[in-house]
């Protein structure tokens, strides 16, 4: 019957979609929007760093070491080797942002897939996957990251591997719980009764119900990832000098806190602002997607 109706009429009675409702809520959430704008601005500035910063982040100057902000055109002063802080902070944002997002994205793909499979098929597969996750869950996240990265040795790859492994278990658990809840619902059974394959049931019916919760949780992990990645490079693991990275800059300037405290506090402030913004955006997103609220 409905096929006979003109599509415009259908659209008029159809309730606004889920994404529409979220977008409408977010549009009025100015706090979340402004922090999101700040993050977009940071990403843009990091991408276009050569256009924004006038100094070479690697150029050292023995005469201009640890100078205060504003000294001879150095907007935020210079570090212990006389390198321009503003340029280094901008170039460092690339590494810090990448190490915040990349491990979470990788873990989302791997952990999410494992969780959906475990939740959907249940039985022995669920047992094998989830018990393995329990073992990794039994490590405090900092300890696991430090143990893996510390044994392999420093470097971006080992840091990425360590952080990805840290985030997989929690994402896998969320995906597994959500999937097994959806799996028990009637429409999944109906789809299977009509002969739909497991893959098409997962793609058509399960993912749509699992992904929103998973995305919101993953977004809250980005700030953790930024903090952990900076922490690793602070310890001398992760990103290696002279590549600028906020955590490693903070470690390098640690000895100079008595001489130029303001400049030394800058990389930490940058980490703090970015991590805070990611948390605020994640909270806003969670709030907008929580239909009950």
């Amino acid at each position: 019957m409905s096929a006979a109706l003109p599509s415009a009429a259908l659209r008029a009675v159809a309730p606004p979609g889920y994404l529409h409702a979220i977008a409408r809520r977010l549009r009025h959430d100015y706090v979340t929007l402004s922090f999101a704008a700040l993050l977009v601005l940071t990403v843009l500035a990091a991408c276009c760093a050569p256009l924004v910063a006038h100094y070479d982040p690697y150029a050292t100057g023995l005469l201009g070491r640890l100078k205060p902000p504003g000294w001879q055109g150095h907007l935020l002063g210079t570090d212990d080797l006389g390198r321009d802080m503003f340029a280094r902070l901008l170039y460092g944002a690339r590494m810090s942002l990448a190490m915040g997002v990349a491990p979470v994205a990788l873990a989302l793909a791997i952990g999410g897939t494992l969780g959906v499979l475990a939740g959907f098929y249940g039985g022995a597969l669920n047992m094998a996957i989830m018990r393995t996750m329990d073992v990794f869950y039994a490590f405090p996240s900092v300890l696991l990251a430090v143990a893996i990265s510390g044994t392999i040795g420093g470097g971006v790859a080992s840091g990425l591997l360590a952080l990805t492994l840290v985030f997989i278990p929690s994402l896998c658990r969320i995906a597994e719980t959500a999937t097994s809840q959806v799996r028990a619902l009637d429409f999944v059974e109906a789809a299977q009764a009509t002969g739909a394959s497991s893959l098409s049931v997962i793609v058509a019916h399960v993912l749509g119900n699992v992904l929103p919760a998973l995305f919101v949780f993953a977004s809250s992990l980005i700030s953790v990832s930024v903090l952990l990645a900076a922490g690793l490079s602070f310890l001398g693991l992760g990103v290696q000098p002279p590549t600028p990275d906020w955590g490693q800059m903070l470690a390098g300037l640690r000895q100079a806190i008595y001489l130029q405290p303001l400049v030394c506090a800058l990389p930490g402030l940058a980490i703090c602002i970015v991590s805070f913004s990611f948390n605020m955006v994640s909270d806003g997103l969670r709030h907008a997607m929580d239909i009950r609220a």
């Binding site: 073992v135 039994a138 300890l143 143990a147 510390g150 040795g153 805070f276």
Partner: protein, 317 residues
């Protein structure tokens, strides 16, 4: 309830085994020959052969794991390459230092966070709630290693109220009752309290807001209960959940103290780990990680059991 607790205790066994397996595999993650990471670079060919045989590197990996596990069960976690002392001796002294720091930090964080969470839940939708939310989000966003540096700048360098780093008269003679020693713990403890403060504030506020929105709270309100009596009812229902979050945080503090201890050169397990990483002392790294992870497993077990005992709703299941 007892069946649940028994199950939970038994469950610790496979988890501990899995944790041990992961720690065992760490040696194989290290670049190069696993034996090479255990042997000092200046060892002679004969020594290398002896160590290979002693650690069983000439045998299949499962056999190696079994032997390694057997030794660990007997308290032999290997020997530090740097100091030549048994890993267990190195770790146990450091663990006490970390645990006391973590316990103090957890206590500070818990008391402050529950008070702030109560304030926020009570002033729902008003300025105070937003302030508490902002502070707690800042708590989970701020890198603790940076806060440590800022605290050192302010309180040790500028104001000269507290010492910057170290442990006073040294780990051996350190006394919590002597202010001369105890003042060294103030800054690291405050720094450590930051993250659990943020996390527990958030969960207290959420748990209390959930409880206050329940129908039975409406009934109590309709009966004309005073605000503080209402809060007492809500707190009693929300507290087991908050305690569980706090317990988990205590475990994270004990296992994840590496950054804070590195900044304050506090001779705990984290400091030991960072030394092990710096000197590429793999046996020490492996042993410390194993002991810390097992401690975390047992803290989690204790938290779960305590939560079951504290929450009558869980007892009935």
């Amino acid at each position: 309830m007892w069946i649940y607790i028994a199950k939970r205790v038994l469950y610790t066994i496979p988890i501990s085994l899995g944790v041990s397996l992961v720690c065992f595999c760490l040696v194989y993650l290290a670049p190069g020959d696993p034996a090479a990471s255990l042997i000092p670079p200046d060892a002679s060919a004969a020594d290398i052969a002896t160590i290979r045989q002693l650690y069983g590197f000439d045998q299949p990996v499962p056999v190696q794991f079994a032997k390694w596990l057997w030794r660990a069960l007997h308290g032999d976690f290997g020997t530090s390459l740097q100091t030549g002392r048994p890993v267990l001796v190195e770790v146990s002294g450091a663990l006490a230092n970390t645990a006391s720091l973590a316990a103090g930090a957890a206590l500070i964080a818990f008391v402050l966070a529950v008070l702030a969470g109560m304030l926020a839940a009570w002033h729902r939708g008003r300025f105070l709630e937003r302030a508490v939310t902002a502070v707690s989000t800042l708590g989970i966003s701020m890198p603790s290693y940076w806060l440590g540096i800022v605290l050192i700048i302010v309180f040790a360098v500028k104001l000269r109220w507290l010492p910057a780093t170290g442990m006073g008269s040294g780990a051996a003679t350190f006394s919590w009752l002597d202010w001369h020693d105890a003042r060294f713990a103030v800054l690291p403890m405050l720094t450590m309290a930051l993250l659990p403060l943020g996390v527990v504030m958030r969960s207290t506020r959420a748990a209390l807001a959930d409880t206050l929105a329940q129908d039975y709270m409406q009934v109590l309100r309709a009966k004309g209960l005073a605000p503080h009596a209402l809060m007492r009812h809500a707190l009693r229902n929300a507290l087991p959940q908050v305690l569980a979050v706090m317990g988990l945080q205590l475990g994270y503090l004990t296992g994840g103290s590496i950054l804070i201890e590195t900044i304050f050169t506090w001779p705990g397990t984290g400091f030991l780990l960072s030394k092990a990483i710096l000197t590429r002392d793999v046996p020490l790294l492996q042993g410390t990680v194993l002991i810390l992870a097992l401690t975390f497993v047992f803290i989690n077990l204790a938290v779960d059991v305590l939560q079951t005992c504290a929450d009558p709703r869980l007892q009935r299941q």
